[in-house]
């Protein structure tokens, strides 16, 4: 799979084509919004714009129902109100391209040639999913760009800047907070190593745990944690003083305690819907959270050396095992896939087969969900089964990726420019 992706065009051509395609979609979206009853623009974009309008009038953006984001986003989109409404979409498109640029630079740092790096970036640039998501006005590209910028700055050794980008990303969407363990373990590698351990005698557990804790307190780790923590706390405190409890509730708590009993891709959806009012509900919530926790810890300890792969695994596990899963979440790990692919040596037929299987899984879920929502048929059991099947497919893909991942950097392979 590594060799197949050298393109014959220059990087500038691919970036240019991606930009033109996205702008064309924005223009088409404006046309469809006006001409047809079914709007192209996502509901979220209207929510952002209404919140930006409230903010520009000096009021709280949380007066807009279902605005569950940081006031920073509403502030960024105030030109929607003063200049023109598609401003936000153009901002998200720019973040898309920025994310792709960070991907490109990271791939170059890993030893790929320009054409090879460009080939992998095309998986993000010319992929219809991120194109559609950004041109419809969803803000996920913003977080993707910040996460990739943080990874790039970490690879370049600019810890403080990386920490600021990371703190911002966590403030915008909470899921990158899981990366803190692999980042800390990764940064600790630069710390002076302790004396090599004696011959294989299994160290007592307490000694290993304390060694880990000491190792985590290296200078780099402390610097990163301090700057990221400061960024996050400064933003949170500032907004809390301005907007009060509403800010905490909508920006953080809602996402942490979100129990959406309405139908979604998650395998837990039907279980949570049926037990929503039962006394078992909190216990089941914890039971659903434990596999996530366990897998994330194991993935951090096993793969922290390759930060991009570790973060990809983290997010893929997080999204697959989450209690709520909508199609926007896929973008969170899709942005890291081009970074990971050069080292996942899978025969392309198998990769294509897994991709087709992934789409089939989605289609099998969308069919009964459509029947429920737009035809009123009772297809809850089918939606649940399709959700479980999609979950199984995702786990299968994860296991395939883990088993085909090779740790040596691509620079040692023959370059195919």
């Amino acid at each position: 799979m590594g060799r197949a992706l050298s393109l014959r065009v220059r990087p500038a051509g691919v970036f240019g084509a991606a930009f033109v395609a996205r702008v064309a979609l924005v223009l088409y979206g404006a046309f469809q919004d006006r001409a047809l009853l079914v709007r192209y623009t996502d509901v979220d974009y209207r929510v952002f714009t209404d919140a930006a309008r409230l903010l520009s009038q000096g009021r709280s953006p949380y007066l807009r129902a279902t605005y569950r984001y940081t006031p920073l986003l509403a502030w960024l989109l105030t030109p929607n109100v003063h200049l023109c409404e598609p401003f936000g979409k153009l901002l998200f498109i720019s973040c898309d391209l920025l994310a792709a640029w960070a991907l490109y630079r990271l791939l170059l740092l890993r030893g790929l040639g320009r054409r090879g790096a460009c080939g992998y970036c095309a998986l993000w640039l010319l992929n219809p999913l991120p194109m559609a998501v950004s041109s419809r006005g969803n803000a996920d590209a913003l977080v993707a760009a910040l996460v990739l910028a943080a990874l790039y700055l970490l690879a370049r050794g600019r810890l403080a800047c990386a920490a600021v980008a990371y703190g911002l990303a966590v403030h915008l969407k909470l899921y990158p907070v899981t990366y803190i363990l692999p980042i800390a373990l990764h940064l600790r590698r630069g710390a002076p190593r302790p004396a090599p351990p004696p011959a294989p005698a299994p160290a007592p557990r307490r000694a290993r745990a304390s060694a880990l804790l000491r190792a985590l307190c290296s200078r780099a780790v402390l610097l990163f944690a301090a700057v990221a923590g400061l960024t996050f706390c400064a933003l949170s405190l500032g907004f809390y003083r301005r907007y009060g409890w509403e800010f905490l509730e909508h920006t953080y708590l809602y996402h942490l305690t979100r129990r959406d009993i309405r139908h979604n891709f998650s395998p837990y959806f039907y279980m949570l819907y049926l037990t929503a009012e039962s006394p078992w509900s909190p216990a089941l919530g914890v039971a659903a959270f434990l596999p996530q926790l366990l897998l994330l810890s194991a993935a951090s300890l096993a793969y922290y050396r390759d930060l991009a792969f570790c973060c990809f695994l983290h997010t893929a596990i997080f999204v697959t095992f989450n209690k709520v899963c909508t199609s926007q979440y896929f973008l969170w790990y899709l942005c890291l896939l081009p970074l990971v692919m050069p080292q996942v040596r899978m025969p392309w037929k198998r990769a294509a087969g897994l991709l087709v299987l992934w789409f089939v899984g989605q289609a099998l879920w969308l069919a009964p969900a459509y029947l429920l929502e737009f035809q009123g048929k009772n297809t809850f059991l089918f939606i649940w089964l399709a959700g479980l099947f999609f979950f199984l497919i995702n786990c299968c893909i994860l296991i395939q990726i883990i088993s085909h991942y090779k740790e040596e950097p691509p620079a040692e392979r023959v370059k195919c420019d």
């Binding site: 129902a65 190792a215 309405r262 395998p267 194991a298 009123g376 059991l381 296991i399």
Partner: protein, 253 residues
């Protein structure tokens, strides 16, 4: 004896006349003869589309041709039960596209809550003249289902939409209004300005007693199966992924 019988009959007749007078339209002091010419207003509620997103269509027809009906405005005050949801932002965007003029009266609403955690709400819809029939008005409101509690046996539950209040306001004092007006209600004159007008609450005859909607719900008999299978599969898969990580990953510190 005969006098008493006559007296009882007279009282009975009197009571009957009174009863007839009460159940009829409110006493029009200007001659009972006008009562006979009061026709009824017919109201028909329909729900279009299928699934969780429906359209409520209300059609009002005046029984007889009324002059100067163009100077009158009709306002429908629809009570929305807890099982239904009206999105005020959707109403605002429909108003911009000039499809319908409706506004929610209730302030407190949660778009995502299930029906058992929601309250009833009220919507004011400014009806429009129907071009297809004379002396007809129609109003349109998009509604959405909320999620309901799962049931133990049937996979469906019902939402009942009651008949709305029909309010009318005419620029001039039309005598025919007295046929139907029951009381006065204060409400905004139009959607755009904040002036309050005194609308007449009109009596009408409805084609259906109410509208019943069927909502699909989960079945609680599935609970143990769903919980056990879901947890089994998620724990199994997480174990498999964990094994893969231990097999192929490098654990070292």
């Amino acid at each position: 004896m005969a006098a008493r019988a006559v007296g009882v009959q007279a009282v009975a007749w009197l009571l009957l006349c009174e009863a007839a007078g009460l159940s009829g339209t409110p006493a029009a002091p200007a001659g009972a003869g006008k009562k006979a010419t009061c026709s009824e207003i017919i109201l028909r509620q329909e729900v279009l589309k299928d699934g969780f997103h429906r359209d409520l269509l209300i059609k009002v027809k005046f029984g007889e041709s009324i002059e100067d009906l163009q100077t009158c405005r009709l306002l429908i005050k629809q009570y929305i039960p807890t099982g239904l949801l009206v999105d005020p932002y959707e109403l605002a965007s429909l108003q911009e596209s000039n499809i319908t003029e409706a506004v929610m009266v209730s302030e407190d609403f949660n778009i995502e809550a299930p029906n058992y955690l929601s309250k009833e709400s009220e919507v004011l819809i400014y009806a429009r003249q129907d071009s297809q029939c004379i002396d007809c008005f129609q109003a349109f409101l998009p509604v959405h289902y909320r999620y309901h509690r799962p049931h133990s046996k049937d996979g469906e539950t019902f939402i009942v939409v009651n008949n709305p209040d029909l309010l009318m306001y005419c620029d001039q004092e039309l005598p025919i209004l007295k046929c139907w007006a029951q009381s006065q209600v204060a409400a905004p004159c139009t959607l755009k300005n904040k002036d309050i007008c005194q609308w007449n609450n009109m009596k009408y005859k409805s084609v259906f007693k109410n509208v019943t909607l069927q909502v699909p719900v989960g079945l609680t008999i599935h609970t143990s199966l769903v919980c056990s299978v879901t947890l089994l599969i998620t724990i199994l898969c997480s174990t498999l992924i964990l094994l893969a990580i231990f097999k192929y990953g490098h654990f070292s510190l």
